[in-house]
Symmetry: C2
Subunit: 553 residues, 2 copies
């Protein structure tokens, strides 16, 4: 594993500019920006909030991710001449040319972002990000910020669920690049599944850019590309400790093969020569990293070949690593394989065989991962692709970005669908923690209210609970969001993937198990302060009392 260097960090920033140019947004952001500009409202101070309405996967929590990319995006947000010329060709011909001059000079120097730290456990309806700045600019940022947070948070949460399902000991390998939404989908998946709790990725570029440990050995095509032992070259290996003369590894392996066949009462004639040749070639190339896929023809045949080559390696002082199973009933097979490995270890007194690992990869879903904890098996590393990166159970998170204040006045969207109504005003968000250290309630209050105090009871209105207040007394209180970008400057250190990953684990650690259950979790309480609740009630009443309505003409 290599940590990202300053060169790769530079590449990341460049890459964000390439990946998220300011044109990568919905056209209506520009038509709205123009209408604001035309009405002279573009500089009005405005506040938008980003949140999601339901925890993903029917779960009790989500993880917040994507902030790092948002900060790089905000820092490099600027239109080129080429961008502006393209916009000129797309917007209606009557658009005032001075607007394009305005766009050309735009950047995020007037924008401030308050955000939950990346990698924090979060809940539905809590405003995760607050974006403050000139109305036209913060409007333009909408789609890009949503795009950067939505999938990152979703796949990170998915990874955390796989991690919870797998238990803390098993190593998890992400290998979804080929199933992702194109190249950057794959790269994003590698980054955020690692942050969510995976240990390894197969994606080399993700290792390069983000310092994620990479892993992988061979595909079936490697095995099927060999037909005979004549293709093995060189046919010798120098022992690790001992004789400097090269040893004929093929003969050595054949010797072990007959002993293994005898032990397992198998016929050497049933051995697939091409597979043995593939394993030998690989072992000669990587005598200290021998971990073949053993089910290209049949697990039984692959296992005999593996044991023979691995025993030959052990005899020469090398340590083989293990085997990969890629089809069928992984649990049952791993038990069989483990039994054979133990048998070899005992019969041939090779201690190295006791620490061989079994890697399982076969269309693993959250459910099949959870089964690994119920059924007997000997799988040490699990590789997950499709279900992890595409988030099959729920392939989108549905974050939204809503206007909550303009020129100091709270704004609220009152929808016929109450779920789609927004909570008005600029806010503060506090996490209330109980005496055992578990968070139990997120309190959303107006920004100017004094924060709740540890040990002091407070009354608040849980969302989705028919307007009945509850009284709670926190043992501790933490402020959930912090200023991470002020007037164009990133003011908070950008965390590496490994740092954010550690943050995820500690944030999940404090969450009570009842909220972490993968099935039917207890729902976590998100509540409005009394004052914010009054404001909502007032605006709703005002709305039905026509205070915002046009009185005749």
């Amino acid at each position: 594993m290599a940590a990202p260097t300053s060169t790769t960090r530079g590449a990341m920033e460049r890459s964000i500019r390439e990946r998220v140019p300011p044109l990568l947004t919905d056209l209506y952001q520009f038509t709205m920006a123009y209408a604001y500009w035309r009405a002279g409202r573009h500089q009005e101070p405005a506040v938008f909030e980003l949140f999601f309405r339901d925890n993903p996967f029917g779960g009790g929590f989500s993880l917040f991710a994507g902030l790092h990319d948002c900060l790089l995006f905000l820092r490099s947000f600027r239109f080129t001449d080429e961008d502006v010329e393209f916009l000129r060709s797309v917007l209606p011909p009557a658009t005032d040319p001075a607007f394009f001059k305005f766009l050309r000079e735009l950047d995020c120097s007037g924008v401030t972002l308050r955000s939950v730290p990346e990698g924090t456990v979060v809940f539905a309806r809590v405003p995760l990000m607050e974006v403050t700045g000139p109305l036209a600019v913060v409007q333009l940022l909408e789609t890009s910020l949503l795009c950067l947070v939505n999938y990152a948070s979703l796949v990170c949460s998915n990874a955390a669920r796989f991690r919870l399902a797998a238990g803390p000991k098993r190593k998890l390998l992400e290998m979804g690049l080929r199933r992702a939404q194109g190249p950057d989908g794959g790269l994003t998946a590698s980054r955020y599944t690692y942050i969510g709790g995976f240990d390894l990725t197969s994606n080399v570029q993700a290792g390069f850019l983000f310092g994620i440990p990479v892993a992988g050995t061979m595909a079936h095509s490697y095995v099927t590309s060999f037909t005979s032992l004549e293709e093995v070259w060189p046919q010798t290996l120098v022992a690790l400790n001992g004789d400097p003369d090269p040893v004929d590894i093929i003969s050595l392996t054949k010797g072990w093969l007959s002993r293994v066949c005898e032990l397992l009462e198998a016929q050497p004639g049933k051995i697939h020569e091409g597979e043995l040749a593939a394993f030998l070639s690989y072992a000669i190339a990587y005598p200290q990293n021998f971990l073949p896929v053993i089910d290209s023809y049949s697990v039984k045949c692959g296992l005999l070949n593996f044991c023979s080559v691995a025993l030959a390696l052990c005899e020469l002082g090398f340590r083989p690593v293990g085997v990969r199973l890629d089809s069928g009933d992984l649990c049952r097979q791993s038990v069989d394989v483990h039994r054979v490995l133990r048998l070899c270890s005992e019969r041939f007194s090779v201690a190295a065989f006791d620490s061989l690992i079994i890697v399982g990869t076969n269309n693993i879903s959250e459910e099949s991962m959870a089964e690994l904890n119920k059924k007997e098996n000997e799988i040490n590393v699990v590789g997950v692709g499709t279900h992890l990166v595409t988030c099959t159970k729920q392939p989108s998170l549905g974050c939204v970005y809503k206007l909550v204040e303009v020129r100091g006045t709270p704004r609220m969207k009152i929808s016929e669908d109450p779920q789609k109504s927004t909570v008005p005003g600029r806010k503060a968000v506090y996490r209330l923690i109980d005496s055992e250290g578990h968070p139990f309630l997120d309190l959303v209050s107006l920004a100017h209210e004094s924060p709740p105090e540890a040990g002091v009871p407070l009354s608040c209105f849980p969302l989705g609970c028919n307007n009945s207040p509850v009284s709670v007394t926190p043992a501790q209180v933490s402020c959930l969001r912090q200023e991470v970008f002020i007037k164009g400057q990133v003011t908070h250190p950008l965390c590496s993937a490994a740092e954010t990953r550690a943050k995820v684990q500690s944030s999940l650690q404090t969450l009570h198990p009842r909220h972490k259950r993968l099935q039917e979790p207890d729902s976590y309480t998100v509540a409005l302060s009394e004052e914010l609740h009054s404001l909502v009630t007032e605006i709703r009443k005002g709305s039905s009392n026509n205070s915002n309505f046009l009185l005749a003409n």
Copy 2:
């Protein structure tokens, strides 16, 4: 709409290099490449095939897409010093340093690609791409080619299904950027949904890079950002044909408002002033492009405001465009809206009101799209986001890349799972067409076989049919694949998105409706030639007869 310029085409190529660097692949491609290199096998001529095993979405067909990006990728495939240094840090320390020199000099000058043309209707188990070249190089290409074809083909096929569900007349708008797997997922979705049959995208960068027509007007936040008519500025508009003196548009609109309210027996006091202000401001900015979202508060209120502003615009000689509905029962609402628009048209004699369009956007799925063809409605344009870009029904296609020949010898993976066995040898693929012009069978034969002839009966073995041959007589025969990249050179013109989109429509046009049905389609026949079938049988028999097996030691 602007066509991509040579500058943007340059940007696309740059962007492929940034998006798909040769490190964006699975680590095992490098470990295998090294093992081949170490054994002196890296230059052996090898053939890989790319195909998928099941048509997506339970449908009867798929579309093949992603070729354009594959060609750009192959053309620019090259490792930098930085890439190679990173690989050195990741591969085992014992890796021979000469291997890294080999990598540094690698490119695709030895690679040839035969492929189905992009935008063609294709079927499961037909080899879509054949990649020929030095074993180590064509192995290294696997993950990137899969990554570029998988999602492109999947989302293109999904778009085609939405198009079939919507019928040919309705305009379809893709608006999924914020729900895609990050920025490039969104861009890829825009490109390939357009190719699959969508008409418009909300994604400006997709318009810039690919020449896709872009569309969009306003979000709810724009509407809720206004509270009173005092925010409308300027408050005048110059009529299109007529008096050069600016007209007080607010007074004019208020006049229309009272007439509309009278017509519809509504109370002007129930009008939301902020919404009216938002509509007015937008209309002043874009008098020829007025298409507001009318359900920020309630459709009834939004519609009154829309009619008033639109009638004022008409009076000044402008042509309003229409309305957007973004929640609730779109069909019912569109019928109500349409009725009101017709009423206004008749009462106030404004012909422009007859051609106003209704845009519907509300979490549209393939099923709800299909309903639009069954239920009465007046929706002209449908915007689709989440279900389109994430392919909710099946979020991955599952293309695979399998070795079929090395050094002129056919290779086959014989799996315990028959679905996972491969078909050996280098092949040709022919599409057989019946007398009505519909394709009815794809024939996979060995490359050296003579092609089937029109009017001549032939015997072949349909896949999945228990080894019974069938006899068929094609009225026409076409060769499905062509050489598109020979020894490092792109030999086929790179098509624009619009050209490929046209190809999709004509390819779908010829497909018989029974294969195009979205539910329970008739399955299309894919068959092996007699000779290829014999080869498969022979290798299978050989395998069970141990011809490839190791005979004692």
